[in-house]
Symmetry: C2
Subunit: 371 residues, 2 copies
């Protein structure tokens, strides 16, 4: 049986309700994956992630875990699930994106990438083979092929060279796989050039993966260009496999991308913005530091039933933020991840009921209303 099943699909569209079966349980799609970079979703216990957020799966960053504490250590201690006390599914990225965005002294060659650790300046090498090996040591349920995340902007020639390198690395990534208890996803590059996206898609599908991701987006190309790629290619990714839009995005982005046929998403926005005092609400984002919330006895979002909204006023949450209290980050992260999770659950329910477009319009009308 395939690890992925489509349960419902829009009659006049591309959005679909699906289910991914992994070694650590089932993931109902469309789904959002909270980012747990360094073996922790910042500020939350796994218990809070399960009980207050209802997260189905979290994402771990291979690059960060490779540098500290190291994949050998995590393997020795029983794998990433056991290490971080998380028993549900985990997806790890390949490390490629972070090498390009966070490291200095990058040298990209056919074999792989050489880079310097920002922690201690030591030099490291990542290849398709080592990335897969590291991810298998971590023991993630879904692992990603090692790709070059094409920088933006890129000339046509640069984007072509890059996607071809990514395609060769994709084949090597697949070859390097040792375990049979994970799903391996390939990544489609091609920048904002439709013909190159198409070429990358063909090459990646030719290698053959358990799932497919659109990579190299949300890297500066702007919302319009991103939506163009998502709308044109979302539904062209193989129908029988999960489709993952990497590093995206806002609530609007998620609705647009699900409408385009995508199933899986990750983004630091709900967690990072939470630490900066930004809450997502049914009526759009809200910055808690504003003076107008100083005496506000109401919850962040009257339509939210998360732990934070059930128990605390805007006035209290503003106080915590202004006083730089740790609990500010914790409560905002609970709320924002709950909000994202509820949005995805709303989409899933709407898909079952055949009301996805109505749900999307209604959500966006409220979201843009700014209370």
């Amino acid at each position: 049986m395939s690890a992925f099943q489509v349960i419902n699909k829009e009659v006049d569209g591309f959005a679909r309700r699906g289910r991914i079966t992994t070694a650590h349980g089932i993931i109902e799609t469309p789904c959002f994956m909270p980012v747990g970079t360094k073996a922790t979703v910042k500020g939350l216990t796994p218990k809070q992630l399960e009980e207050e957020v209802g997260a189905q799966i979290v994402l771990g960053n291979t690059y960060h875990l490779f540098l500290r504490p190291g994949h050998e250590l995590i393997k020795k201690l029983g794998g990433l699930h056991k290490f971080m006390g998380w028993s549900r599914p985990i997806l790890t990225d390949s490390g490629g994106f972070q090498v390009f965005s966070l490291s200095s002294l990058r040298r990209i060659e056919e074999g792989g990438v050489t880079f310097r650790s920002p922690i201690d300046g030591s030099t490291h090498h990542l290849t398709p083979e080592s990335s897969i090996s590291i991810q298998e040591d971590l023991g993630a349920d879904i692992i990603m092929a090692f790709d070059e995340c094409t920088p933006y902007p890129a000339t046509h020639k640069e984007a072509l060279d890059s996607l071809e390198l990514t395609a060769r690395w994709a084949a090597r990534s697949l070859n390097a796989r040792q375990r049979s208890d994970n799903l391996l996803f390939g990544i489609i590059q091609g920048s904002t050039y439709p013909e190159l996206r198409r070429l990358s898609l063909e090459k990646t599908v030719a290698v053959g993966f358990d799932g497919y991701a659109l990579g190299g987006l949300s890297v500066g190309e702007g919302q319009t260009s991103m939506y163009d790629v998502v709308n044109e290619f979302g539904s062209q990714l193989p129908e029988a496999a999960p489709r993952y839009l990497m590093g995206v995005g806002t609530p609007e982005d998620l609705l647009v991308a699900v409408a385009a046929g995508l199933d899986m998403f990750d983004c630091v926005m709900p967690t990072r913005n939470a630490r900066n005092g930004m809450y997502f609400t049914s009526y759009g984002p809200l910055s808690i530091k504003q003076a107008r919330f100083r005496e506000d006895p109401g919850p962040i979002d009257a339509r939210c039933n998360c732990y934070t909204c059930r128990n605390f006023s805007r006035a209290y949450l503003r106080h915590l933020f202004m006083a730089k209290e740790i609990l500010s980050s914790v409560l905002a992260t609970i709320h924002n991840l709950h909000f994202y999770n509820k949005l995805m659950a709303g989409m899933r329910d709407a898909l079952v009921g055949g009301e996805f477009q109505r749900f999307k319009s209604s959500f966006l009308a409220d979201y843009k209303s700014q209370e």
Copy 2:
């Protein structure tokens, strides 16, 4: 019926098992009160405080809450319990100690204290009357008389003048009380001079309070001098009222103080040290940053059943600390407060069973063994 009942008492000693009844529930003593300075025990949700720590009561700091967000705001929003989402008892201090230890430009006069806010430099005035009024606005279950925390060292004359001022302020504090749903505690000063402690005790008891506290300790006098005062005066505080040792202390300190007849304690040590990577264990304190814990798969304390010890290895907790992750502070705070709470529960059980001295010796033998 009195708000305090002694349930068990050592036959050949002063330790006792008691029960304080407040408007927000019962406090079993001896008890430890986690410090929730700015309307939050740093890093923990009230739910974690209840479920993972089992805290019976938390302490709020009047000084901090007065400066930010302000007691009027908290009152307007329904009081401190509602503001911070904590439904169990709260004790607030008088603000005196923090004025002396944290503010600049202090002018102490018969009327009260003038000081400058470290937040915005504004000038404020605290008096016995305003301290009680602020605490009643906050709505704490147990409030403290406004005292001058005698600095250490102090000459005999300084300590005498200080305790006499505190005694006059004690009478004014009692007079200022408006609410009948709280308990008001008086504070005994007198530095390390036994005759002055005795004088302060007499004067404070003459005013008449619902409970009595030993103040001005753990301010630099050293463990020996502190133990001298605790051992001599713990059992001399009125027997029918709760006895509170302010700002103390280590696990050893708590055992010594309970043996001396004290019932209530607060200290930032378990919470502050947690944020610095210091864990309390049955075998003594442990600094998680040590390299020897890098690959240690075991829990912080094999004899602990807290959330942190049930779910995470020393290796993981070290990783979180080294990576400066918020979750490091959260998990260490859960563990340390659970440890303190379990220590107090152990004392209470031992007192019921008539085995307090055995419990104390056994705990200390382990605690000093350094695993």
